[in-house]
Amino acid sequence: MSASLQKGLSVLMEVIDAPVASFFSSCVHCGLCAEACLFYTETGDPKYTPIYKLEPLRRVYQQEYTLTGRLAKMLGLSKPVTDQELEIWQPLVYDSCTLCGRCSMACPVGNDIVYMVRRLREGMAVAGHAPDGLVDASRRSLETGSPMGVRLPALMAQIKHVQADTGIEIPLDVTGAEYMVLMSSMEIINFPEYLGAVSKIMKQAGKSWTLCSEAFEATNSGVQIGVSDIAKVLVGRIVDGAEKLRVKTVISPECGHAYTALRWDGPNLIGRPYTFDVLHILEVLDIFRLEGLLKTSGFEDAQLTFHDPCQLVRRGGVLDQPRNLLKMVASNYVETRDSGKMNWCCGGGGGVSTIDEAEALRFAAFRVKKAQLEETGAKTLVTACANCRIVLEEALEHYQMKIDVIGLTELLAQHID
């Protein structure tokens, strides 16, 4: 057995807790999780059944933590998890799982399958069976602070452009500001209009806010690849920045997994609660709406629809805010089939969009989203995650669908005078 495999198996033993044991003990092989997974429904290949993706973890559980499994192991009757097997499982655990959590909502016995996939990735990564795309993104995050290698000078350049466009100053490193705004590299490079939208909204609301030169990147590839040590370092940078500037609230940008990594995983990664609050930008905007600080004028008359980012709605709990906000500016808003907490994933979450080898499968899985969108007839698709947005745009281009994609924050800012 290789040293890396030994370490990976040790990690798998460590991450097995009572919920994992309870979930494996409850599975009756009903296969309903497959019907909830876009990689199965759009390919018809049973190997994409979510519970099957967990087979290496199940075997470690059975062989190490059950009486019958230990007996079988002692008698040499059990099949050990091998490097070859983990290599075969890599596309199942990474390429074909966006951690979207639909399976966890559908399982009749209550298994939170994504909870277990996240744990299996811990062992897979340590054993050296994570995809190159995610390994590279994690390395760049540690070295440069960004999975895309975006450094402070790139942000400064975008700040200058946005300031020139809006005429509003973008505050940087302001101690004691109420809000610290984070961004994703995707927004800095591809969608800088998000920053302009935030500055416009904050100005109207009369709130103090700042960017932090030492912690402006919100995304966390450590969570996606499944290496808690990396995830902890990346969250730690944000915590250090927020505590140094003594801000009251850190705002997670329009990025689903950045939100769950910071809001829900972060305190557990650093081992203590934060000294500040964490809100997604849509939560902040909805609070402004309730307080009368967000005033919009005019409506979008064209039919538009909303894509709920999985990490925001299903894994994050931000359910009502986007709809409250959309009603302020859209007169012809339509829901897609299965919208809200059962929405179908864009196909690129959980790090899948960084895996080159997964591209063809991602486009195949997009067919369910394509059908959802076609049913509405909408020509504008609003979302609240920059990663969803780029994945949606790529897939819409692939299928030659003429639908515009826009971020909700940006849409709202367009209706501020």
Binding site: I16, D17, A18, P19, V20, A21, S22, F23, S25, S26, C27, V28, H29, C30, G31, L32, A34, E35, A36, Y40, T41, G44, P46, K47, T49, I51, Y52, Y65, T66, L67, S104, M105, A106, C107, P108, V109, G110, N111, D112, Y115, R263, W264, D265, G266, P267, N268, R272, P273, Y274, D277, V313, R314, R315, G316, G317, L319, R337, D338, K341, M342
Partner: protein
Amino acid sequence: MNEVLLLTWVRSTGLSIATGIFVLGTLWRLIEIYTLGRKPDLSVPRHRAAASGLHTLFRRSLPAPGMFIRASASYLAGYVFHTGLFIVVLLFAPHIMLMQSLTALSWQGLPSQFIDATAVLTLAAMLLVLVDRINNPVKRFLSTFEDYAAWALTFLPLLTGYLASRHLLLSYTTMLALHISSVELLLIFLPFTKLMHAFTLWISRWYNGDINGHKGVPS
């Protein structure tokens, strides 16, 4: 061993052994699973009505939105055979008398004609479940020997119980002995197979609801 001796043995020694293995095995499995514990969640919870372990414990008895249409046969056959088993096991007068002799607890049963009809319906639903397991590509792919064994361990007590109560195929004494034997086999294997879900699913649902309810997601 003649049929009377066999019936006497399965009703006394056999039942004691099976019950002992069932009780100790189930306790062992529950301890084995739940003493693994879990770390406390240090993130600040988001409170939302209808998002909690308790809500999910009940809610998971219904299909998630959009799921019924995708797997109607699985849901319908599942409901029929689980409900049927519940009725036949707990509301058949001879079963209630057995419970009373063991626990001193008693309750009102249902007429035997109704129990007979329920048993037939449950047997049919279980056969449908088996056919579906063989025909459905996902279920066939996932299925191991244990899945088919668990099906047989559940089906046999129902079948032999029905045949005994209707005095079919074999003598009543022999069929009753086979019925009790099959129940004992079920009891012996339940803690060590997927049949253990009868106990763990409630806690799994609660975990799911608690983990997601912490984030304000009604799961």
